[in-house]
Amino acid sequence: MRNCRNIRWELSAYLDGELTPPQRTEVEAHLASCTHCQQALLEMKTLVSGVGALPKLQPAPRFLAEVRRKIARAEKPEALTWRDHVFRPFWLKVPLEVAALIVIVGLVISGELRLSTQKIAPLKLAKAENRENEHGNTVLSETRARPATAKESKSAVAAQAPAMGTPGLAIDDDKKQLLDKSAASEMVAGGADNQPAVGPRRIPVVRNDDELSTTPPSAPSPVVDLIRSIEFPRSKPSEIVTVHARVFDEVRNQAQQLAARCSGRVVIVPQSKDATEQTFFVALPQEYVAAFKLELLKTSGSSTALARGGIAGESVTASAVAASTGVLTGNAPTNSSADGLATFGLKDDATAAAPATLLEIRVVAPAN
């Protein structure tokens, strides 16, 4: 005999007459002796009869006509309107339109990003170019980030030279130039291969942005501060002049006198005690560079130095040197380029706006 739980599951089919004869006999035998299952059967009958008594509703009177209308419409599809083309089928159109929208938005955003980065880079380069053009000179900036100031925009800022045994300064040149400085100056001193130690080429601009800086930030040295304080409006790339003399101060004093006469000036930088050569800088108008060098080498008491040292930098024609030298010595011919000017002092105003050249004067003790 099966238990009540199993019989209960059979009561439904028993009521529907869907049990096999043996199953029906078994259920009836259990029901005869089980009042709980009899009660369950009664409830089941009520339930089933209730479901069977659910109202039979009449369909709409025009049910058939509507079926016919739908069939006719399906057989003869109406002409598609623009709405059908635009909006149907939704299940296809909506996802496609959403996907298209996403693609368009993505393209716009990526385009904007690309555009903005393209705008930023040229802007930075343009800034640097502007400064460069304004100076006629490339600025090798400090690695420190700092806002551009008017003063700074006029300044040629030099990076401190790397340790080469001879501490010194290089202005308006790149690092490679700095590294080659000693060798270049020696070559200049050799005289035979007179070639510009410093070309007019421009160095890559080092941007002021911290994140773009490739060199590690370092504390500013006194030399850098000094150089930064010097204003060389539209100065040209520096030239290196090697003077063979025993006394550095004499050469420097001579240079100061000469520079004072051509509205130039001498800049003294701290020197290392271990240095085999001593260096100072002279800023002066470009047109007097050749004459200045000539005079300096002459007055330094070493005529051989002129022959050996020569002039580093641009080639100067003999007549131009002569004319400038005349002005420098106060014997300027009246038809010279400095026509009407007896002394350099009168040239101050005229040359104030002229491009200045920075000369690096190296004083080296004679070998003998």
Binding site: L11, V48, Q58, P59, A60, L64, I71
Partner: protein, 202 residues
């Protein structure tokens, strides 16, 4: 003018014969099929959906579907089985459509129906009880109908096919394309679930 046919007048023609005539191009045979089975289709749809408008649409669409597929019907099963299959499937689709839109169907038997003749009360067929008994019965049946609608779809389908349309287990198995054993156990579980939901009401 719409033809009004009495289904009993065509009783002599079996569903199979009417289908044959339909395939032969006799449009009136199809009309006879619709008129004979429209109430069955509509009531099954209504008990599955409990919405008059949706039930009408589902029942009509079922006949449209049959009309289009007349050539494919090979007579492996009874016409009513085929009709029930289509109605149940269309009702499932409609139910899914509701669920996607969060719609809850709940229709009282007191509701009115919009017809070509204006708004009329829902017609309930075959009710011959005394008015007081009738009132109690209507109340219980209304409750039963609501509870049935709250059952899972599979339970509701077997209960409607079995007790609303009096299909045998074998016919239900054909309509739902499952085994008779499945139908048997599903009906038993559906009734148990319904009884549980009506505890105290029986």
């Amino acid at each position: 003018m719409e033809r009004v046919l009495n289904p009993d007048a065509k009783a002599e023609a079996s569903d199979q014969e009417l289908l044959e005539r339909c395939r032969a191009g006799d449009e009136t045979a199809f009309d006879d099929l619709v008129l004979r089975h429209q109430q069955r289709a509509f009531n099954v749809a209504f008990q599955l959906l409990r919405d008059h408008e949706d039930a009408t649409e589902v029942a009509q669409d079922a006949f449209v579907s049959i009309y289009r597929s007349l050539g494919d019907f090979r007579g492996e099963c009874a016409f009513t089985t085929w009709l029930h299959q289509i109605v149940v499937n269309l009702a499932r689709n409609k139910h899914r459509w509701w669920k996607r839109r969060g719609r809850q169907a709940s229709v009282s038997l007191d509701t009115t129906v919009e017809t070509a003749d204006g708004e009329v009360p829902v017609q309930v067929a075959g009710n011959t009880d005394a008015p007081d008994i009738q009132a109690v019965k209507v109340e219980f049946v209304e409750l039963l109908s609501r509870r049935m609608h709250e059952l899972p779809r599979k339970f509701r389908e077997v209960l409607v096919l079995r007790n609303v349309d009096n299909l045998s287990y074998e016919e239900i198995a054909e309509v739902l394309e499952c085994s008779i054993g499945t139908v048997k156990s599903r009906i038993a579980r559906a009734r148990e679930a319904l009884r549980e939901s009506l505890k105290g009401e029986l």
